[in-house]
Each structure stands twice: as structure tokens, then as C-alpha cells.
Subunit: 224 residues, 2 copies
DNA sequence: CATGCGGTTAACAATTTGATAATATCAGAA
DNA sequence: TTCTGATATTATCAAATTGTTAACCGCATG
């Protein structure tokens, strides 16, 4: 999935379409529009948007119809869908959500609230992926507990991994020995000074990449 | 698998607390309650709910404070959070969403709308380990409780199946032993440490396929 | 009531990890 | 240069963690 998220908006009122489009484009999204249900389906098939904002009341196929049709296709099973509606009718709202929508907004719509909601949805969706840090050739994947350097995986033991992850969490920053002890070993455990050195050495060895610099008398820092 | 989702509700009005609790329990959720912000934090730490519903206006720490505190801790980075508010103030709503909440509801709250929204959020979150998973030669059919590898069916016992299904639901991800215990055995049951190992072994044996890797000191992960 | 299966545990083996001691190196101060 | 305070390296050992096997219990089934 590319970084720029595509959003399809379907509404039969040109004014609303324009306002929403303007605001979402301002937030950095790529926006596609449709004036009715059928057009929305066409555009969805053509562009495969990440999010579809559907007005419920549209001539021809209404929003709920469109949602149902889309949800039947595997390609759109996971696409985010938000309903817009002029009527704040509870029954419709519930039916909308149960059709498989992710949110439901009633008009009049505040553009800022809309963009906040859109952002919130994408924020949540992006978290589903594994949380990993990329630093040049080096990828540290906390979820998979794997270090990947230039395409090949490197296995580190727990302490080694956590130590590297800590240093890499703020590249360039010098971590004091005490800081490292507290973060990796915790305040309870007490270990000798050489312990850190040994682990640093093992990391350097396994990565055979000189990315950890010693700052004599102070601590260590990570740099590529 | 203990599929039962835990929901924590924090509100200082006992009536609202009760109504929401009743409705969500009716939907099959496990509900925990808190009367103020501090209590909410305690309960969150204790129970690790899947969703937290926070009233914004509470004595002591308000909902936004609680959300901020929780979001700073890695353990609650991914927890779903919904705000409730008596004031339909746009600014507050936007601030709430930008704090990292997933939704924002204004009072008076329709219990049915609330449950619809809650369902919608969980539906989205669960999209992964739903019905059946295909992974190369391996097919896992949740409905039929059947594993199929290279065309032939393999019979696994329930726990074995659940365990494999869990690991396979996110290939590559390392599942901590605690995570496995919570997902497969539930929070109530307490079993010894060797129990997981033994089941892992049985799976490895029956599949005679080296797809489960142990990450010493951390947990297990599934990879083809 | 015997049998088999699933699930758990105990007991021990095998393995890996992490800490330390001992020794070597190195950079800067005297 | 020599000394000194620091870190690097190496080997070693104890502790933590997991693998394996067999035994046990409860329960459903014939």
C-alpha cells in the first residue's frame, strides 16, 4: 500500500463534495469523487481507494446499497467505509454500521471533525502492521523479534535485541551506562559493568557492522 | 479461544454506567467498570481490556488525561478507546480524536448505537483470524476445525488447533507465552509452563513441518 | 467397565543465555 | 615513555529456558 491514501467520496450534492474534497486534500490525501451510487462503484473498481465516504441518500443506488455491493466482493472486504447522512435516524445509523461500515456521520458535517475521524481510522489501520524501525539497510522488527540487515535476517538473543533496540530508538543519542541498565535490565537487577560491554561486543560481532560507537567515560551511541 | 472481548467503562454517573454495562453484557462482552479516571487506570492495568470507553468529564483525572496516560504505555498503544461526552463541542471532539481515540460519542447516548459502534470497531480489528487461512500448502479452516497440508487433512486436538490457529493468524509475529495463555486458555485458567511446550511439540510432530520457531526467552512464532 | 483420547503435569535432558573473572588493548595524562 | 583508567575480548560457568518422554486424570464412548 502506497503512503498516500486514496479516498473516494460519493455525494449528490456538489457543495458538500467540494468542501470535503478540499479539506481532505489539504490533509494530504488523494481524493476521488462520485456523484451517485453507480459512479461510486465504477470509481471504486477503477481506483481501489483505501477509504470510501458514502452519502446514504443518493439518486439511483443509495449508500447502503453501494456498501452492500462492495462488501460482497473480496477486493473490498477490508476497505474502510464511512456513511454520511442528513437524517440522524437511529435505525438507519445502526443498519449502516451493521452493513459493515466503520463509521457513521450525520450532516451537517464539520470538515474538521470529518478529517479527524478519517485520520483516526487510518491511524488505527496502520497500527495493524508490524511495528518496526527502519534505518537505512537495517530494520528492527519488534513484533517479529528480528534484525534484518541488507536483506538477511540476524538472530539476536533477548538482551542483545533489547539493547540494540534501545540504542537504535534514538540514533545519535549517547546512552549512559546507567540509562542502559535501567532500560534493559530494570532497576531491581544489579549487574556488573562488564556485562554491558560483553553484550555490545556480541551485537557488533553478529551485525559485523560498526554502528555502535563507544563514548569513553560516558556510554554508547548508535549510528549508521 | 477466549474470544470474549473485555470492555472497561469509566463514567462518574452510575446510571449511565449501568445502562451501558447492561447492553454490552447482553451483546456477550465482559464488562469492567470504573467511577473515575484513577480507578479506570487501575482497572486497565489489572484487566488489560480490549476496549476502553471513557467519559470525558469525570472528577479527578478526566477522560482525555486517562487516554494520554494510557497511550504513553506500550501495553496500551493499541487498545481501542472511545470517548463519551455530554458536550457536543467540536473542539473537544477533535482534541479527543487526536489524542488517539478511535471514536467519539456525544450524550445522550443510544445504547443501540453504542453497541453498533463497538461491534463495528471489533469487526474491523478482528479481520485477521476470522474464518479460514491459506498459507502456502497449509490451509486452516476455523469452521471445520481442520488443517489441510498438501492436500491431506491433519487432525489436531482442540487446544492444538487453537494454538496453531493463533500463531498462524499473524505469520512471523512472535507470540509471548503470556499472550498465548490469554488467547488460548483464557485469563481465568492457570496452567503450568510446560503445557505450552508439550502442545507445540505435538503440533510439530503431527505436521512434521518445521514451521514453528521458538524465540528463547520471548515466545513462539509461525513461519513457513 | 474397559478403552481411548485430550489435556495437564512431573521429571529429567538438552540447549541457550547471561554474567563474571581474567586478561588484553587502548587512549590520554603525567 | 610509562602509568592509569577506561573499554574490549575471551573463556568459563551457573542459571534460565525449552525439549522430550512418560505418567496421570477426567471424560466420553462403545
Amino acid at each position: 500500500m502506497s503512503n498516500v491514501k486514496k479516498i473516494l467520496i460519493a455525494d449528490d450534492e456538489p457543495d458538500i463534495l467540494e468542501i470535503i474534497q478540499f479539506n481532505l486534500q489539504n490533509e494530504g490525501y488523494e481524493v476521488i469523487t462520485a456523484k451517485n451510487g453507480d459512479e461510486a462503484l465504477d470509481q471504486a473498481k477503477k481506483h481501489h481507494p483505501d477509504l470510501i465516504i458514502l452519502d446514504i441518500m443518493m439518486p439511483g443506488k443509495n449508500g447502503i446499497d453501494v456498501c452492500n455491493i462492495l462488501r460482497m466482493q473480496p477486493a473490498f472486504k477490508e476497505t474502510l467505509i464511512i456513511f454520511l447522512s442528513a437524517l440522524s435516524d437511529e435505525g438507519t445509523e445502526i443498519r449502516g454500521l451493521e452493513t459493515g461500515a466503520d463509521d457513521y456521520l450525520t450532516k451537517p458535517i464539520s470538515p474538521k471533525v470529518l478529517t479527524s475521524k478519517v485520520n483516526a481510522l487510518f491511524r488505527r489501520l496502520n497500527k495493524e502492521g508490524s511495528d518496526s524501525v527502519q534505518l537505512g539497510d537495517l530494520k528492527i522488527d519488534r513484533e517479529k523479534y528480528i534484525i534484518n540487515y541488507q536483506g538477511s535476517d540476524i538472530i539476536l538473543a533477548r538482551k542483545e535485541f533489547e539493547l540494540l533496540a534501545l540504542l537504535a530508538s534514538k540514533p545519535g543519542k549517547v546512552f549512559l551506562r546507567n540509562e542502559i541498565l535501567n532500560q534493559v535490565w530494570g532497576t531491581e537487577v544489579i549487574v556488573g559493568d562488564r556485562t554491558i560491554d560483553v553484550h555490545i561486543r556480541k551485537i557488533r560481532q553478529k551485525l559485523d557492522l560498526d554502528c555502535i560507537t563507544t563514548v569513553k567515560g560516558v556510554g554508547y551511541k548508535f549510528e549508521l
